[in-house]
């Protein structure tokens, strides 16, 4: 691992740490969106009392940024959990099993993989009461094939390795060998990478739909997406109310993706 990768790992790790801390702390900060409105301090530039300035309704942008993490943090974790856990199991079975079991699982995975993700999420939102939790659940399920595909490749590659065959020859149960020796010991870097990716996707969908305004988080509740949506009515000389959340979205997504990639690479080097 080169010097730049190591720096990248630390930087992206710091971003992930900050977002996780905010996500954990945010629900405990009291915030009443209606009380935050104050029309005598509209569109103020950043100052000591309002670190990132105020928006069109005089609400503190920094506060809304912090509270906005609530919108995607737990849903993102849930989606990542569903995609990685179910995907890893499905991938392991698809890579190890033979006959009809394998055919059924491979077929089901391929089926899920053909659905266009965002379009399907919008379809579900049209039919059911749209909430970020539902969106994240659907996103998690739609990512199962992506995770399963990489895990499957790994399991197929490892399945014929001598030490795995030796474990089975020694009488270890193959379920244990798959779960512990292959998934837990060998595949965790893959799972970290995929989990970070799914989390980033949920952040993208949540902010995207909240930006559009019909699904996702509705005003006055804060989301980075509906904060960016103020771009539609802001005067050109006051860009910070949308610039700050937009930068936060880019930083967080690239931070999570980079952390997932670099941490996984480091893990893979350590395993080898």
């Amino acid at each position: 691992m080169g010097r730049f990768s190591r720096i990248g790992l630390w930087l992206s790790g710091a971003i992930v740490l900050v977002v996780v801390l905010l996500g954990v702390v945010a629900p405990f900060i009291p915030y009443e969106p209606a009380d935050a409105v104050s029309y005598d301090r509209v569109l103020e530039v950043p100052s000591v009392s309002h670190v990132l300035g105020t928006d069109e309704q005089g609400r503190d942008i920094a506060m809304r940024l912090v509270k906005g993490t609530e919108a995607f943090f737990l849903p993102g974790l849930m989606a990542a959990g569903i995609a990685v856990l179910v995907g890893a199991l499905a991938g392991a079975v698809a890579g190890y099993a033979t006959g009809p079991v394998r055919a059924v699982i491979v077929g089901a995975l391929q089926l899920l993989d053909t659905l266009p993700r965002l379009v399907f999420i919008i379809l579900v939102c049209t039919i059911r009461n749209p909430s970020v939790t539902l969106i994240a659940f659907v996103a998690g399920v739609l990512f199962i094939p992506t995770v399963a595909a990489v895990i499957r490749r790994k399991v197929e590659a490892l399945g014929s390795e001598d030490y795995i065959l030796a474990h089975i020859a020694h009488g270890f149960h193959s379920v244990w060998v798959i779960l512990y020796h292959i998934l837990w010991l060998q595949c965790w870097p893959i799972m970290v990478r995929q989990a970070a990716y799914v989390f980033g996707y949920v952040l993208f969908v949540e902010t995207g739909l909240s930006y559009l305004g019909d699904y996702g988080v509705q005003e006055p509740d804060p989301s980075w997406g509906n904060m960016v949506a103020q771009v539609r009515s802001l005067p050109p000389d006051a860009p910070w109310p949308w610039l700050v959340p937009a930068a936060a979205i880019v930083l967080t997504i690239s931070g999570f993706l980079a952390f997932g990639n670099l941490a996984a690479r480091r893990g893979e080097e350590a395993i080898r």
Binding site: T114, L123, F204
Partner: protein
């Protein structure tokens, strides 16, 4: 002759597989509809829909029958391209009539964006050559910039473009272009072009493409047969090119779903008349037949693209036929 037969057989098998996938995907879509809470027909129609419209809709979608029978009814109608009539967006209009032109535009924009992305990634990969530690600053910065979701990239782009036009065209006293200020509806093709640029720059597409393309180019360039061709004094370019077609087609096909997802919101940001805009508008107005019709069309586009990619790969590379035959 033998090769052609193998190719035809492979195409036939892929087609059958694609049809099966389409049936399965439409099954998932149909049962998502059926799973609507309460009375499905009330859940999917806007408030105040007249009862006779509801009845017709229920008959169209087979909601008045048991799930499986309803699915067969709906599938039979959809297979002929009949997705019913629009309720709100363009009342009484056939879904296919409004969806077809919109979908063409969306495919044009996404396909164009993907081609542009592939071209730029290839150019950069050739320029960069072998990876070296010094390039990591560049690729790291690119990685960071292109990770932005396409809709955020679109907002940055449109705001930047507006500021640029304001400063150098409007304030300088020239006529402003018809597409200015950007989220305005115009007949101009520029917004489509902008959408293409944004799709290339967003959603991590470019770096993903660059990494894939670069690995493939390096793998071919360092292959032994290329060294042998060079040793014989022949040009390596045609051989390199032909060996790159297969991975490039795969890279193109595999990323179409990503672009088709990104294009939905990007079209909305630029107010383009595409299928993504139509989908979101219809969904907002609870125009259910349009949403379902478009969902099927998007899925169909992905399946057809994968099918085409398989056939092109097999036509270019005989090993593909041997491997799958």
């Amino acid at each position: 002759m033998n090769r052609l037969l193998g190719l035809v057989l492979l195409a036939g098998r892929r087609l059958a597989g694609g049809l099966l996938l389409l049936v399965g995907a439409s099954f998932l879509i149909y049962f998502t509809i059926r799973s609507a809470p309460g009375d499905a027909i009330d859940a999917i129609t806007p408030m105040g829909t007249p009862p006779e419209v509801k009845e017709k809709l229920a008959a169209d979608f087979g909601l008045d029958q048991p799930p499986l029978a309803g699915y067969v009814t709906w599938l039979g109608r959809s297979a002929t391209g009949d997705f019913g009539e629009s309720l709100v967006f363009a009342p009484g209009e056939q879904v296919m009539t409004i969806a077809r032109p919109a979908f063409k535009l969306t495919l044009l924009v996404s396909g164009g964006a993907l081609l542009l992305c592939l071209f730029l990634a290839t150019a950069l990969a050739v320029v960069l050559g072998e990876p070296s530690p010094r390039q990591q600053l560049l690729t790291g910065a690119l990685y960071f910039v292109t990770a932005a979701p396409a809709f955020v990239a679109a907002i940055f782009f449109s705001q930047g473009m507006n500021a640029f036009v304001r400063r150098f065209v409007e304030d300088a006293g020239y006529d402003t272009p018809p597409w200015y200020p950007i989220p305005i509806y115009s007949e101009s093709v520029m917004p489509y072009f902008f959408a293409g640029i944004v799709l290339v720059a967003g959603d991590g597409l470019f770096m993903d493409m660059l990494n894939t393309v670069r690995a493939e180019i390096l793998a071919v360039r360092n292959a032994q047969f290329i060294a042998a061709i060079r040793a014989k004094g022949a040009s390596t370019l045609p051989h390199t090119f032909r060996n790159l077609v297969v991975p490039f087609v795969s890279a193109f096909a595999a990323r179409l779903p990503v672009v088709l997802g990104g294009v939905v919101i990007v079209e909305y940001v630029f107010t383009l008349d595409g299928a993504g805009y139509l989908l979101l508008e219809a969904s907002k107005q609870r125009d259910f037949p349009v949403v379902v019709g478009l969902s099927v069309l998007f899925t169909l586009a992905i399946i057809v693209m994968n099918l085409l990619a398989d056939v092109v790969r097999a036509a270019v590379d005989p090993r593909e036929v041997a491997r799958n035959g």
